[in-house]
Symmetry: C2
């Protein structure tokens, strides 16, 4: 069984251990030498080039992804050549274009923030005026980790994004500024033949638009909330035809609604806790799903898991230089190093702690992660 | 951090996921192309050749092992060249030569079966006569998985082993045939700076001299038994200067004693359950130990873990062809495929189940493993 992964980042890297255990041959098409998933890098090449991707796809049983940036015409060339692609282009376009995503989720009757497609500053001003004088503007394509997202009080503040167009025909997505209590994420996995499983809904903490911490399961979540979150994600996975892992980022509003924020059709930062906290990690599950194998259990080893990202990493030395300090005081935390050079704000690793007492678990994970920050 | 592993079998393979997570660069000196640990195979070469091993050792921070067969003169050449070797030659010789091991354990006052060094058929006959007419004869070197071990009722039955000599000066090890209730194994890890940790003692089930199943922790084990097993292994690790993981195979006798059977100075089949059942897997712990990093927790995720070996594997098709059947009925078992061609009796993989009810856990693991046997 050969799985080809387009993209050589840490998500591809974290698929390697799962592939080794399952006896799956993982082949990565990396963007450059020395990337996070270099150990499994079968070749280096441009994922926007049809010939490069076709040559890569012909050598594997299924193609999947470390990111959602492979252009539609490249994906369709793979499908036309008979290469199984999971998630497929029909699903991926909703992860690639936020306007398409909002349209489709609205059609499916799913709870989303008020939104509109705006093509001019004037249209944007109208939306802002109708929504209390503030709104969130998003470029339909290319945004991640807070990039391509801006809170504005006037259309002029996004004027240059209209000018650039950004492949969306000049249109932007504008959404109400949601008054939320906290952010949640719901992870599910679906195989082509239809089986679908859900992990417990988790709470995610963002700093500056970047995920800093995940608590699994989300504390203070009545059964109803957990059921709604799972139902929303399952409806999306089925409605959009997603195969593999799907992460649905959610807002829990101050008036007790759950609204869909963003989608990711691949393993996701909000699911890293599953590597150490769940029967089946999201990386193993993704491989099983794209290979159309029966899916694994999504129960938890311990009552609580807390995952804390290592953002940026140390400036003065290497991550590994801090291991003695990080490990000696925290023998039960699990450390994950992505093999990437430290750079401000960059995700270079994460730590996960698990246990019965949430305060203790969160303290352990935060304290161990803090050792790696200057 | 670069760790060099001599030997490309499944133990080296199972170190790769742990190395990826820790951000350790693992380099394997494999015996041949296409071995179980091929993904990390830095080169292929003869581990009995000094120049090959020296060239390999100079490129890494520490050398460790997939097996105990590297000759002493090769190990000493590495040490003389300044390459850290863990476990070192002074410890490894006790794993390489069962006569030396028995002598040293007796010196340390550890509980061992009655034993003798015998150089002739007549000496062996005398030992047999003194021990109820039966004894176990072992070649001091090269035995594993039941090979080089024979139960005899007369010295003549081992005559050809005296003739071969087998590098032991013609001497053989003879031991009393222990009347045991069951077999146990105690796994510990020790770093060069002295820290040592122990996992719970486990019960191992052998069929034809080959491990078929491990139950962790060993059922019906009073605290006293668990303490004795851990004390024995810690005394051995410290007394023999073992670094890395040490597995001590034990007999629990019908008169309630614990006797040391065999030693392995590396990750061991009796510890595979730790990959899915313990806070720290034996493979991660081995890497931490040989790098002299603080050791990880040895607690259990669930009350029980049962590991069942896949021996031989299917004849008519590939292991992966049986995945749909194995996985659909057993969503919580963890499957480990060593990437080896099926062959009668060969260890080609294992499955582990964990949970609160031992009968259920054992049933799950055995049923999933049985799918892979014809």
């Amino acid at each position: 069984m050969r799985v080809g992964v387009i993209g050589g980042g840490q998500l591809a890297r974290m698929m390697i251990p799962a592939a080794i255990e399952l006896g799956v041959e993982l082949r990565v098409l990396a963007e450059a030498e020395g990337m996070s998933a270099a150990l499994a890098a079968d070749r280096v090449g441009d994922y926007t080039d049809v010939e490069t991707v076709l040559a890569f796809g012909r050598d594997v049983d299924v193609v999947t992804f470390d990111h959602e940036h492979v252009p539609q015409h490249v994906l369709r060339a793979l499908v036309d050549a008979g290469v199984p692609v999971h998630p497929g282009p029909d699903a991926l376009r909703f992860a690639q274009d936020k306007l398409l995503m909002r349209e489709r989720l609205s059609e499916l009757g799913l709870p989303v923030p008020d939104w509109a497609r705006v093509e001019t500053v004037a249209e944007l001003d109208d939306f802002i005026a109708d929504h209390g004088g503030e709104a969130v503007v998003k470029t339909p394509r290319g945004g991640y980790d807070g990039k391509g997202v801006r809170v504005v009080r006037s259309g002029a503040e996004a004027a240059e994004w209209f000018a650039v167009g950004d492949g969306g025909g000049g249109a932007l997505l504008v959404e109400e500024l949601v008054d939320f209590r906290r952010e949640l994420a719901q992870l599910v996995a679906r195989r082509p033949s239809g089986e679908i499983v859900a992990w417990p809904v988790v709470e995610t903490v963002q700093v500056g638009g970047v995920c800093s911490e995940v608590i699994a399961p989300a504390p203070r979540s009545p059964g109803r909330l957990a059921d709604v979150a799972a139902d929303v994600a399952i409806t999306i996975a089925e409605g959009l035809g997603v195969t593999g892992v799907l992460a649905v980022e959610l807002f829990e509003t101050t008036d007790d609604r759950v609204l869909v924020n963003e989608l990711a059709m691949r393993p996701h930062n909000s699911g890293h806790w599953t590597m150490d906290g769940s029967t089946t990690s999201q990386f193993e599950q993704h491989l099983r799903a794209v290979l159309d194998l029966p899916l694994g259990g999504t129960g938890c080893h311990e009552r609580w898991s807390v995952m804390v990202n290592v953002l940026g990493g140390p400036v003065s030395d290497a991550l590994t230089d801090r291991y003695p300090e990080a490990l000696v005081g925290h023998p039960t935390v699990k450390l994950h190093n992505y093999g990437k050079a430290p750079r401000p704000g960059r995700k270079v690793g994460h730590v996960t702690a698990t246990g019965d007492d949430l305060d203790e678990v969160a303290y352990e994970a935060r304290a161990a992660a803090a050792v790696f920050q200057d």
